[in-house]
């Protein structure tokens, strides 16, 4: 990684921003360890922990067996005992086998034990389509987590947010689920370490607009921005809101924006039904129904498993063209 000690990067990848965040946090706090499948030698399936083994040694960067339930469970135990683990699940799809440790243990420890203890750890993972990974390697399962009280949930789209939110997650006293996207790692942006940074629970208005609010998170934010550019040429001014964290959720920014624009689209790459967009759509209706000019549109992936064939996979999730099309209709 170029220049570990720089404070400002004009152009850094999302991957490197995450690496840098772990690096800086580990230098500050020697109780931070990293554990997961292939995080050490291999540097992480998507390279987010590359070189950290060399820098921090195998006591702190630990390759684990392929035992997802026990990886999360051991991280929980370590978090209860003085360490601050960053555990990595290679694919978000592996929530399936580890939801007991995530939802029944990690999320509930503080509560069940009446506030005696917490498990301050970060569970990093990545999801989403784009690599023909198929039904078991391409999901977006944030809704399961958002439906689990006790967890913080972060899904940054931009390198600067990735850096600061991960840094922040490694300081707070709440267990945090940190979901990246496999197609974001190579995307680039600026990073300013001296920025105030993205706090949890504060959405980012990436683009001011007056005609419609496009609300999203993770990779779909980049689609939203591209759509907004196209829409601008057609004289539609879209406000693009990057939620960045889903718990805490910045309801205020959403509501304020929609009260202004009176129209909204909610974008996500997850399944449609009982999803994060269902929640956000409800919130908007509940709070803005008096001013809304059109129904809120939630545009997600199809309600089917993820197909492998590239032509199917591409059209399985929202496309920029369709975002533009629906937004225009909403603004009609």
């Amino acid at each position: 990684m170029s220049d570990l000690n720089k404070n400002y990067f004009e152009k850094i990848t999302y991957r490197d921003a995450l690496r840098l965040a772990m690096h800086d946090a580990m230098q500050e706090d020697k109780n931070i360890i990293i554990m997961g499948e292939d995080v050490a030698n291999y540097g992480g399936a998507y390279g987010a922990t590359k070189d950290l083994l060399k820098l921090f040694g195998k006591e702190r960067v630990i390759d684990t067996p392929i035992s997802e339930p026990a990886i999360v469970g051991a991280a929980v135990g370590a978090a209860m005992s003085g360490l601050r683990p960053v555990a990595e699940l290679m694919y978000v799809d592996f929530f399936g086998m580890s939801m007991d440790q995530i939802a029944n243990q990690l999320a509930k420890i503080r509560y069940m034990f009446g506030g005696q203890i917490s498990a301050p750890m970060v569970l990093r993972t990545q999801g989403g389509t784009g690599r023909s990974g198929g039904a078991q390697h391409s999901q977006s399962l944030e809704s399961w987590i958002m439906h689990t009280p006790g967890l913080f949930l972060s899904m940054p789209a931009k390198p600067n947010d990735a850096y600061h939110l991960l840094r922040h997650a490694l300081k707070i006293d709440n267990p945090t689920i940190f979901i990246e996207h496999k197609l974001l790692y190579n995307t680039t942006g600026t990073l300013d370490k001296n920025d105030i940074g993205a706090p949890f629970g504060k959405a980012n208005i990436l683009r001011k607009g007056k005609d419609v609010s496009i609300i999203s998170y993770s990779r779909m934010i980049n689609y939203a921005e591209k759509a907004a550019e196209i829409l601008e040429k057609e004289n539609i001014s879209a406000e693009v809101i990057d939620l960045r964290t889903l718990y805490p959720l910045d309801r205020e920014t959403i509501i304020t924006s929609v009260n202004k624009t009176k129209r909204a689209l909610v974008l996500s790459e997850s399944y449609y039904t009982s999803s994060v967009p269902s929640e956000i759509t409800s919130i908007i209706f509940e709070n803005c129904y008096k001013v809304l000019k059109k129904p809120v549109i939630r545009y997600t992936a199809e309600d089917t498993p993820v197909p492998v064939a590239p032509n199917l996979e591409k059209n399985y999730i929202p496309t920029i063209e369709k975002i533009v099309e629906y937004t225009k209709k909403v603004c009609n």
Binding site: E59, A70, G73, G77, Y111, F113, F152
Partner: protein, 336 residues
């Protein structure tokens, strides 16, 4: 015989049993929070020998049938019973109840209602101790049923691979709810499983608590030197699975036969036979325990219930706002 630990071990076992009897009474009096109360009557030997062999800073997790282990590790009967009653003075403010009872200051990393759920916790705790260079062992207690939870083998492998100060302790009471062990496992020799993962093993299948204590101590001491271990204590669940269960699925003759294998009367006979304590001494001990537990009972019953705002506490850290109540949410929308 002069420095025998038998009186101490006896006392621990007796305190466990008397405590559990009070739990049962609490239920009968309608003062317990629910009926999911899993008593360890008949199973006191394991908690006593392993609990005593652990050192002060050692830690542990327990399964749903964990009162006994907690008592053996110093749990305060007052706050324990108050927790089981769902009261404010309980260890978890009544929010965890019998199946989540714990005192972190005593190294109790939590009772767990998920069979096997607390097992990987000790792996992580041991990772901490090793990394932080603390000479501590972490012990996972669980039932024979948990021997069929995959997470146990994932945890054993990690403990073995990373040479962690961990002991896995199976309290094998021959049943998982109504299912006899023969109907749950292909091979009953659990030590063989643990050995195949590279653990030191100990199989206790008699009533001699002092000998079990010494053997357990060896396993724990080895674990402290980074050779993780496995202990199986065979025993018999004297009563039903939970407070309501009358065990219709097993023979009364089996029950009465097996209840004769009582580690407490065995220890008391041992003490008398070997002139360690006489009957009067034992009666005195028993009596003191009864008084202690009666007081705990009173404490629990008199403990106040929680204010409803307690629902919203302890979900997130103290620095975070409490979750907004439904009432507030709904009224806000309605008053919009």
């Amino acid at each position: 015989m002069s420095n025998t630990l038998l009186p101490k071990l006896y006392k621990t076992m007796k305190r466990i049993r008397t405590f559990e009897e009070r739990v049962s009474e609490l239920f009968i009096k309608g003062e317990s929070a629910g009926t999911m109360l899993h008593l360890s009557i008949g199973e006191e030997l394991g908690p006593a020998c392993v609990g005593t062999a652990m050192q002060e800073n050692d830690t542990f997790t327990t399964h749903h049938r964990g009162h006994g282990i907690f008592v053996a590790r110093g749990g305060d009967p007052n706050r324990m019973l108050a927790e089981i009653a769902g009261k404010k003075d309980g260890y978890c403010k009544g929010k965890g109840g019998s199946m989540h009872i714990a005192d972190m200051t005593l190294g109790h990393l939590g009772a767990n209602a998920i069979v096997g759920g607390g097992i990987p916790t000790v792996v992580g705790a041991a990772m901490s101790y090793k990394y932080l260079k603390q000479e501590r062992v972490s012990v996972a207690f669980f039932g024979d049923g948990a021997m069929q939870q995959g997470i146990l083998y994932e945890s054993m492998n990690m403990a073995s691979l990373w040479k962690l100060p961990v002991v896995f302790c199976c309290i094998n009471n021959q049943y998982g709810m109504g299912t006899k062990i023969e109907n749950a496992v292909g091979v009953k020799d659990f030590s063989k499983r643990a050995e195949s993962f590279g653990l030191n093993t100990l199989h206790v299948n008699d009533l001699d608590v002092e000998s079990a204590y010494h053997k357990s101590k060896e396993i724990i001491d080895s674990a402290r030197k980074f050779k993780p271990g496995f202990i199986e204590i065979e025993c018999y669940r004297f009563y039903g699975h939970a407070r309501m269960d009358k065990s219709p699925y097993r023979d009364e003759s089996e029950e009465s036969e097996k209840r004769k294998l009582d580690p407490i009367s065995f220890a008391s006979n041992q003490m008398i036979k070997n002139n360690i304590l006489d009957e009067a001494d034992i009666k005195k001990i028993d009596n003191d325990i009864m008084i202690e537990m009666d007081k705990a009972m009173e404490f629990a019953i008199n403990s106040p219930i929680n204010d409803e705002t307690e629902i919203f506490k302890d979900v997130y850290s103290e620095n975070d706002p409490l979750p907004v109540s439904l009432d507030e949410k709904i009224n806000k929308i309605l008053n919009n």
